[in-house]
């Protein structure tokens, strides 16, 4: 770190300066192209997380016919949007209603709809979640920050290698005028596992 602590006009961190230096030298030597870095970073930012799942949910919210197909045959409806539900397993989509809340777990290991949601969160693989989600889902949800109405029934879906699940959360109120793209921003990974509701829209 011989260069750290120097005086520079814009108060940029050493890391920022070092990164610029690395990039400009590697580009100069023809080892890298700046455009290629842009493309790569974008691909990793967009394709790793749960965005594909969020797009599926947003479509289901705006298009009742699609929603119906999704509930009847998840695998086929997901393929319609060009996504691969993955791992050769059957994909079942369940929807939350004011009276029914769905929750996904894999009690045996950590089967997860990765094709649509990316990597599972750490707690999903924890023994505590896997064992307790079935026995006391209401309590587990409360601990994860979702306090359900006592009248809501909770259905727990146990994933297997052959069968994966995803939850369509309820569409938040106040989102009537939103575009499908903006709606997808409200759909978090946790909402599609069933441990959270979709995010409420920001008040404009």
């Amino acid at each position: 770190m011989s260069m750290s602590g120097g005086h520079h006009p814009e108060q940029e961190s050493f890391a920022a300066l070092r990164t610029k230096a690395l990039e400009s030298l590697l580009v100069e030597k023809g080892l890298l192209a700046s455009d290629a870095i842009d493309t790569l970073v974008q691909a990793y930012e967009q394709d790793i997380g749960p965005r594909n799942g969020a797009k599926v949910v947003a479509r289901a919210w705006v298009d009742p016919a699609y929603r119906q197909r999704l509930l009847e045959n998840g695998t086929a409806a997901i393929a319609e949007l060009g996504f691969v539900s993955g791992q050769g397993s059957e994909f079942v989509v369940v929807q939350n209603t004011p009276t029914i809340h769905n929750l996904i777990v894999c009690t045996l290991c950590s089967c997860y709809p990765s094709g649509l949601l990316g990597l599972p969160p750490k707690w999903y693989k924890d023994f505590a979640y896997r064992s307790r989600a079935v026995i006391e889902p209401r309590q587990v949800l409360r601990e994860l920050g979702l306090d359900l109405d006592d009248t809501a029934e909770i259905q727990v879906w146990d994933s297997t290698a052959e069968l994966r699940y995803m939850v369509i959360p309820e569409r938040p109120i106040g989102t009537e005028g939103m575009t499908e793209e903006d709606l997808a921003q409200l759909v978090t990974r946790d909402a599609m596992i069933g441990v959270a509701n979709a995010t409420a829209p920001a008040i404009v």
């Binding site: 520079h8 230096a21 691909a43």
Partner: protein, 118 residues
């Protein structure tokens, strides 16, 4: 779609796992995304196998933890990348220090880069 994420990079677990929020990668500053992109790009081009970068990163994280150096994940990522690039002879330490100094002093800025970028 030639650049879909490589699972051996995206799915790293353990201390070297990439920081995420809501399952998505998080970059807190622009440079973090840039250095990540560079490390992946050089791997894609065959400059090193990812395993080599990963080993370097694991060692870097361990060393920083042992010595109690409070650096961030991407500062350690950057240090690993720099060491590997120098070890592979892609750049020299002297060039890198000189170029860093130019950016630090303002003798070179981003605009210069764009002009020289063919």
């Amino acid at each position: 779609m030639t650049s879909s994420p490589d699972p051996q990079i995206a799915n790293m677990e353990g201390t070297e796992a990439l920081p995420r929020k809501n399952g998505e990668l998080t970059f807190e500053a622009l440079w973090e995304g840039r250095v990540f992109g560079m490390a992946v790009a050089l791997n894609d081009q065959g400059a090193y196998p990812w395993r080599e970068f990963r080993d370097q990163l694991v060692a870097e994280i361990k060393a920083a933890d042992v010595s109690g150096t409070p650096t961030s994940y991407y500062e350690r990522f950057l240090a690993s990348f720099e060491k590997l690039v120098l070890a592979k002879g892609l750049l020299t330490a002297a060039d890198l220090d000189a170029r860093t100094a130019e950016y630090a002093s303002g003798a070179r800025d981003d605009e210069d880069d764009h002009d020289h970028d063919h």
